[in-house]
């Protein structure tokens, strides 16, 4: 399979505020020289310490933050220094499901318009009925009720809001999705439903995922390849099997050791 997305020596630094008027000389090196590539139709898991730069990588790919150095390519084309106009078609191809759904859902828009908005932008020729059908179909797929499409984000539970964000990302038929803690607010059954959905769509449409998550069992299940980050750097990259069977880096080992053991459930085999 061809390489879909590629990052080379990517760096994203944020200045540390030293006071109101002084110019900052210190930086938070959120992403500090990271290189990886993702094959079309595959899933790469991205794990690592809180604050290690995972979300920032995602945001750099969708151009929400500017890289300080390094390049990002999509199908071999350089996308990290395009202006907004030239980047526009990539906004359809590349979607990001954000970590904090409340933050990115417009509180004044109904669910139907939240999911419909990207459709208006990227599929302006859809008829009203086609658009409605599409929205209803997406809501059903993520386990929400079609009757609720005229509700506002605050009228949903946390996990329901997370699924609105997922439906929105899927609506424009993207080629590449960055899933940033996309299933972390869901109970294990709904989570399984969403993961199965993502995998079905991958089989059908050759979708490619960058899957950022803290649940290592979920990452193992969904990923072909895993990247482990610590303090802005990738400290280990290998196939999912290899990482879990034979972790090399001390931080990876520490991470695997810290997985809660679930003694009761394990002992009784109810799980």
């Amino acid at each position: 399979m061809p390489t879909l997305i590629e990052a080379s020596d990517l760096k994203v630094y944020f200045p540390i505020q030293e006071g109101l008027f002084r110019k900052s000389k210190q930086f938070v090196k959120a992403v500090d020289g990271v290189s990886f590539s993702i094959e079309q139709g595959s899933t790469v898991g991205l794990v690592g310490e809180s604050g290690s730069g995972k979300s920032t990588i995602g945001k750099a790919i969708v151009r929400l933050v500017d890289p300080t150095a390094g390049i990002i390519k999509f199908r071999g084309e350089l996308i990290s220094d395009l202006n907004n106009q030239v980047f526009f078609p990539y906004r359809k191809k590349i979607q990001m499901i954000f970590q904090d759904p409340f933050n990115c859902l417009n509180p004044r828009m109904t669910v139907a318009s939240i999911i419909g908005e990207p459709l208006d932008i990227h599929f302006p020729k859809l008829s009203r009925a086609e658009k409605d059908d599409k929205i209803s179909g997406l809501l059903t797929k993520v386990g929400l009720e079609v009757d609720h499409k005229n509700r506002y984000p605050h009228q949903f539970s946390g996990g329901q809001r997370q699924r609105i964000g997922i439906a929105r990302a899927l609506s424009v038929e993207p080629e590449f999705i960055i899933c940033d803690e996309a299933v972390s607010a869901l109970d294990v059954s709904v989570q399984a439903q969403i993961i199965n959905l993502l995998q079905d769509m991958q089989d059908e449409f050759k979708l490619t995922y960058l899957f950022i998550a803290h649940d290592l069992a979920v990452v193992e299940h969904i990923s072909d390849f895993v990247l482990v980050m610590n303090e802005g750097k990738i400290v280990e990259k290998a196939t999912a099997e290899a990482i879990y069977a034979k972790p090399q880096d001390p931080y990876t080992k520490k991470l695997l050791d810290a997985i809660p053991k679930m003694p009761t459930i394990a002992a009784t085999g109810t799980g």
Partner: protein, 280 residues
Amino acid sequence: MPDIPLLAVKNLQIAFHSRSGINEAVKGIDFSMEAGETLAVVGESGSGKSVTALSLSKLLPPPPACTVEGKIHLEGRDLLALSEKDLRTVRGKEIAYIFQEPSTSLNPFYTVGHQIEEAIKLHRPDVEDVKGEVINALDIVGIRMPEKRFRDYPHQLSGGMQQRVMIAMGLSCHPKILVADEPTTALDVTIQAQIMDLMQSLKDKLNMSIMLITHNFGIVDGFADKLIVMYRGKIVESGETEAVLSNPQHPYTKALIACIPKLGGKSDRLETIDHSQLAG
């Protein structure tokens, strides 16, 4: 008063009213909590866990948009009958929250240090070195360079750091009951373990009770004394954590436990629940 539990909830019903109709989010539930106890609440997304927690100190929209019925007694006091003024002393000081989504509770216009400072001043007026207390609070939740991070605005922090700021804020109120709604969803397993140990030790030190809403069975198994399982607005099962997890009775609990993803469980598809098989 050995017979009065710290918190007693009886026949709690919560309904949302809108033009499109009534949504009965919680349909008559009972539970209680003792001082120093950790109660875990698990269950389906949308089953009413968060709204139950919010109702405890009247944080839901006022009627007619939302109606709350039943009884909520904190140390014998009827919370649903308290005035807004009396409720303000309950919130934070007696019942503190770590909310599910950071963006709903952190103010984007103030630094995180300032926000924790305000919480401490309000709920623990006897603390002298407030700033020192804040820096310590950030430090013990594992935020590096707390003196620098003190001056950060929420958007400058990662998701897991925002979550830890809320945890620091909730814990520094020294409440009687800490409601922690999905407190570790954005944390990697090493920090997750550190946070749970921290909560446990503060719980012991202050004889605090914790209501722990979570989808993470690893945490439930490791930390909760008792467990409530919710499904579609009702409690379908409850009891000692070990008893429920090792011998679940309700079909929903059994099915949910079967869905827990396991390391090394190399199956092509994950298990989901067939709801038509479950009698509501």
